[in-house]
């Protein structure tokens, strides 16, 4: 079985303070001061990819390729994947190109790698990206390749040669199905799917694997969507998710609880 993982390295936005959230003339928030991290959904996809070789269903002979689009800050992440015994590592240097809000460009890179370099049975990637949240790279990739696509993948295991048992979140529940290759899998919120950590000895033994470095010029199919994107970015407005809060002022916890009950809970509970 051959698995291709597309992943992105993103800034850890949690370290940004309130005043950092300002947009420059290039319509970008300066995240240079935020350390890089895995895009959470992609990290889960990478871990699920490794689980295919875990007992008890362990499938032998799985070949894995990790593909990323990003600058040199991606290199340590590729080394980690090398230490975790990914077989092929590819970094596509985007240069000055702005891939935000252009899922087609990423999808076309995946398609080209899939058709010319790695020929996977399954493609795994996060359902959403951290920055633009277009949430459609898996679907667009599948459409370009003419493959089926499953999204909101939570878990997967080997189910025989070129088949996976895929668990997906669905409205109001969870589905599990056996999926035959080829298929694109968009990994969503996969509880507990943090990427495993290679040991120092594995880093020494496997971590020096060569990375194939490419540029966007190696992917002429990306020219058009980048030059003439379907969506043009005009402005950015921060989405505020704060919720109003009230501090209950009373001398004792018991009295605070009483106020909470009387003012805020009793009516709701009785209505319910």
């Amino acid at each position: 079985m051959r698995l291709l993982n597309l992943f992105f390295v993103v800034p850890d936005l949690e370290v940004l303070s309130e005043r950092d959230w300002t947009c420059g003339p290039d319509l970008k928030v300066n995240t240079a001061f935020a350390p890089p991290d895995w895009n959470g959904f992609d990290e889960s996809a990478l871990e699920l990819s490794l689980r295919v070789s875990d007992p008890p269903e362990a499938l032998s002979g799985v070949q894995r390729c990790a593909l990323t689009v990003g600058g040199p800050s991606c290199e340590p992440f590729l080394k980690t994947l090398a230490a975790l015994q990914f077989d092929e590592l590819i970094r596509v240097e985007p240069g000055d190109a702005d891939l935000r809000f252009c899922p087609e460009a990423a999808a076309r890179i995946v398609k080209a790698v899939a058709e010319t370099k790695f020929r996977p049975d399954f493609i795994l990637t996060g359902t959403r990206e951290q920055i633009s949240e277009s949430a459609c790279v898996p679907q667009v990739t599948a459409e370009l390749l003419g493959w089926p696509c499953l999204t909101q993948v939570m878990d997967l295991h080997a189910a025989g040669r070129n088949r996976l048992r895929v668990v997906c979140a669905e409205d109001g529940g969870v589905s599990a199905r056996i999926v035959s290759a080829p298929c694109v899998l968009g990994v969503g919120n996969a509880p507990g799917a943090y990427l495993r950590v290679p040991t120092l000895k594995d880093k020494i033994k496997y971590g020096k694997k060569a990375v194939t470095r490419m540029t966007l010029s190696d992917f002429p199919e990306t020219e058009k969507p980048l030059a003439d994107p379907d969506v043009r970015l005009r402005s950015l407005t921060r989405i505020r998710k704060e919720r109003a809060g009230v501090i209950l002022d009373a001398p004792s916890p018991e009295e605070k609880a009483e106020i909470l009950w009387e003012r805020y809970l009793e009516g709701r509970v009785r209505r319910g």
């Binding site: 800034p11 949690e14 370290v15 940004l16 303070s17 950092d20 240079a32 001061f33 935020a34 350390p35 890089p36 800050s73 290199e75 340590p76 507990g192 799917a193 943090y194 990427l195 495993r196 950590v197 290679p198 040991t199 120092l200 000895k201």
Partner: protein, 483 residues
């Protein structure tokens, strides 16, 4: 071993404190039987320490005195605690039918005294709340450990805590001017607040760092300082070797500069914190100068001049350091996230902090790090940083991660954590450093106390026997239990 049954212990405590302040809920008791030294056991919900008879909440010095007298009479082991943020086993209930005495509800700030520049508070005052309140008034305690969102004043003093700005303000021992403590026989002792005294040994130091093994701290008075963040200057450098880094730190300290922060990260630790600006394999050194504008600016200029003499030190944009530092502290959210990650990956990160003079700190760092990488299985990262410097030496904060492989939760502590601690302590003792810089000995490193103290162990042993003759105060902490 207590002289009365578990039920009688609870009955006695209820008589003293009232039913509402004596908790016997099994879940609470289990969670109170350990601290973050047994992080993996906590993650797995496995409890290997004796489950205490009760957790009691005290509200006044008088109540503390009554509880201690009761425990002393029946030889019941007590474990004092406030913020429950200990990480060296100091809060483990090592004996059957122990009682955890929780001072977190003694949480009143008693007096803010800006004229004499000191603040008096009860043991359960959270440091974060105290410092936030002071900062609104233009002052600060100058004490900012990574556990600031969790820790409370009693525990900070009991463990000889240190903060991230220690190079300027000192450790908690430099900040405490007076205190109140209760001893096992119920005796309440107050040490008054004065700028200095020459009236015999400084008895504050019997209490500061006693780790609950001699007495229960009920009240502390600490110095406060003017808070002037507008004068802060940050500096950051990348460099190739720890050896050069230690030398720069030494020069800065020896020349008499007092930055509030002086830190040096090795390549492994730097890659976890500074990968957005430091290339792989690079060490990172950071400084912060603060205080009155003139002093802060002069401190920055002096440090820059010293670092400039070392061409391998390349300056980085100070904003990197300022941003990084603002997200350094650990609160409940970070701990919850860490536990979730450990549960998922079985990869766990631990720290061990030691100190040494300038002439041995590099050897301690290098030899311990190499031995850990070679001798301990499943290591995923080993490195560290120096974060508290003095004119005669510095500390080394070893940071290490390992995968827990083929190991039940109750065996993890010996297979990995204690094995690493042993290597670090062996190397520290070999080269003449101290095995604990600011976490305390707890129970994790208590069995090295004889080698750590050498001939001065006589003094510690005598203190323990004199103040706690019945052995009721946090037994197993500082001095190991006899098997």
């Amino acid at each position: 071993m207590a002289l009365i049954q578990r039920e009688k212990i609870v009955e006695g405590l209820v008589r003293i404190l009232g039913k509402e302040n004596v908790v016997t809920d099994e879940k609470v008791l289990k969670e109170s039987s350990n601290d973050r030294y047994r992080k993996y056991e906590q993650v797995c919900g496995v409890y290997t320490q004796p489950i205490p008879a009760a957790v009691v909440y005290v509200h006044s010095t008088r109540e503390v005195s009554d509880v201690l007298k009761f425990a002393n009479g029946y030889q019941i082991n007590l474990v004092p605690r406030t913020g429950h943020s200990a990480i060296e086993g100091g809060l483990e209930t090592a004996l059957k039918d122990s009682v955890v005495v929780d001072g977190s509800r003694m949480n009143r700030i008693l007096k803010v005294d800006p004229y004499n520049m000191q603040v008096t508070c009860q043991c359960g005052v959270p440091l974060q709340e105290l410092d936030d309140m002071l900062r609104e008034k233009g002052y600060t305690t100058g004490h900012s450990p990574q556990s600031k969102p969790l820790a409370q004043m009693g525990g900070l003093v009991a463990t000889r805590s240190i903060g991230q700005f220690s190079t300027l303000y000192g450790g908690i021992e430099d900040l405490v001017v007076g205190l109140e403590a209760v001893f096992p026989n119920g005796k309440i002792c107050r040490i008054k607040n004065v700028p200095r005294r020459s009236v015999g040994p400084d008895i504050r130091h019997i209490v500061i760092g006693n780790e609950g093994a001699l007495c229960f701290i009920t009240e502390v008075t600490v110095k406060i300082f003017k808070y002037r963040p507008e004068n802060n200057h940050f500096m950051g450098y990348t460099l190739d070797s720890m050896k050069v880094g230690f030398e720069v730190l030494r020069e800065v300290m020896v020349e008499g500069y007092k930055p509030s922060i002086a830190r040096l990260y090795d390549p492994a630790d730097a890659s976890m914190n500074f990968s957005h600006f430091a290339a792989p394999g690079k060490c990172v050194m950071i400084f912060m100068a603060e205080g009155p504008a003139g002093i802060s600016a002069a401190t920055e200029a002096g440090i820059r001049e010293i670092v400039a003499k070392h061409p391998e030190c390349e300056p980085v944009d100070p904003q990197y350091i300022e941003k990084w530092f603002s997200a350094l502290n650990w609160g409940p959210e970070q701990i919850a996230k860490e536990l979730e990650e450990i549960r998922a990956t079985h990869n766990i990160g631990i720290t061990t902090e030691v100190s040494g003079c300038w002439d041995c700190i590099y050897k301690i760092y290098e030899t311990a790090r190499n031995r850990i990488a070679e001798e301990v299985p499943d290591i995923t990262m080993v490195g560290g940083h120096s974060s508290h410097s003095y004119s005669n030496g510095t500390n080394m904060y070893f940071v290490y991660y390992y995968n827990i492989v083929d190991c039940p939760p109750e065996e993890e502590i010996n297979k990995y954590h204690n094995a690493i601690n042993r290597i670090i302590c062996e190397q520290v003792l070999k080269y003449g450093g101290s095995i604990a810089h600011h976490h305390g000995l707890g129970k994790a490193r208590a069995h090295y106390v004889y080698q750590e103290y050498g001939s001065s162990y006589y003094m510690l042993d005598t203190l323990k026997k004199a103040f706690d003759p019945n052995g009721i105060m946090n037994m197993g902490t500082l001095i190991p239990l006899r098997k």
